[in-house]
């Protein structure tokens, strides 16, 4: 019986300033707190990024990067399921 590791996916809504590429990308919540308004679509783009902490090496990776890992089994709701040793 293989041990299945369940790792939670974190979804981050990131706001990118199209007019000032040097301004740091903020999360949507932070942007609203700082600017006091939702991002203006003329100037900002909101990008949703899905990341998780890889249980193998502890690094933060995009969920799509799991496709490169031989341990990956499936994505299930807001979790990634993988096995300890490649199947």
């Amino acid at each position: 019986m293989m041990e299945v590791r369940r790792t939670r996916i974190r979804k981050i809504s990131m706001v990118i300033d199209l007019q000032d590429f040097l301004s740091p990308p903020l999360t949507l919540d932070d942007h609203v707190k700082l600017r006091g308004a939702t991002p203006d679509p003329e100037r900002y783009r909101v990008v949703e990024v899905e990341v998780l902490v890889c249980p193998e090496d502890g690094g933060v990776v995009l969920v799509s990067e799991c496709a490169k890992c031989p341990r990956f089994i499936r994505r299930y709701r807001d979790e990634v399921h993988c096995v300890g040793s490649p199947p």
């Binding site: 969920v63 496709a67 990956f72 089994i73 499936r74 994505r75 299930y76 709701r77 990634v80």
Partner: protein, 235 residues
């Protein structure tokens, strides 16, 4: 890429004792079919092209979800990169299986066995079977009886008709007799009432005569006197 994916899926099912089955009439081109051990499985493949247009993956998954033509299991086969995007819980809730393909195939979500629905083709087949049975029965009805049996059957039918006619006639006669008897009974009832009235009048008259002249000799110890007197009171 889709060819490689399909080849891996074929190998996966082959290892499990399945062979590729012909595509049922009306089934989508995107599906492959496998059968083995009395079980049929359909596999809908979604290539990496689906990453470029979101509709492509959705279209295949919806087609898989609604497909029920005579298969026990339905799978969706996707490349590994797509499996990181697709939430497999949605497939699981629909009873669909998920095959993740990356050179080899991993059954990430096992498919649930589904009760095959009777499609149009299945209904057509059953209707044809019933028609054939009906035709055989009709043939037996005509050919199964000999000429002698058929003539006997005709004779029995004739006798039955005669008996029915006789029975109807007897019933009519009985009804007429009953009506006549009822009429006679009514007339007798009227006569009886008239006679009783006359007797009562005679008794009263005799009583009055006795009071005037004393009892005549034939009234002495006559039991009819009390009976006739009581009848008059009852009425």
């Amino acid at each position: 890429m889709t060819d490689q994916l399909l080849e891996a899926v074929r190998e996966f099912f082959k290892q499990r004792g399945y062979v590729e089955a012909p595509r049922p009439r009306g089934a989508t081109q995107a599906a492959s079919f496998f059968e083995g051990g009395g079980v049929r499985a359909a596999v809908f493949t979604v290539g990496e092209d689906a990453l470029r247009g979101r509709g492509e993956a959705l279209r295949s998954i919806l087609a898989a979800s609604t497909f029920r033509e005579g298969v026990d299991y339905v799978y969706v086969a996707v490349p590994k990169v797509l499996a990181t995007v697709i939430d497999s819980s949605v497939l699981s809730e629909q009873g669909l299986g998920l095959l993740v393909v990356n050179g080899r195939v991993v059954e990430a979500v096992p498919a649930k066995k589904r009760a095959p629905q009777q499609g149009l083709a299945e209904l057509e087949r059953r209707v044809a079977e019933l028609e054939a049975q009906l035709s055989r029965l009709a043939k037996f009805r005509v050919e199964g009886l000999s000429q002698a049996e058929l003539s006997r059957l005709g004779l029995i039918e004739t006798q039955l008709a005669e008996l029915r006619a006789k029975l109807d006639s007897a019933v009519r006669r009985l009804e007429a007799s009953i009506a006549s008897l009822a009429e006679r009974l009514t007339r007798l009832e009227e006569v009886r009432e008239r006679v009783e009235a006359e007797v009562e009048a005679a008794v009263e008259e005799a009583g009055r005569a006795m009071e005037a002249e004393g009892l005549p000799s034939y009234f002495k110890d006559n039991p009819w006197l009390s009976i006739l007197a009581s009848r008059g009171k009852e009425r």
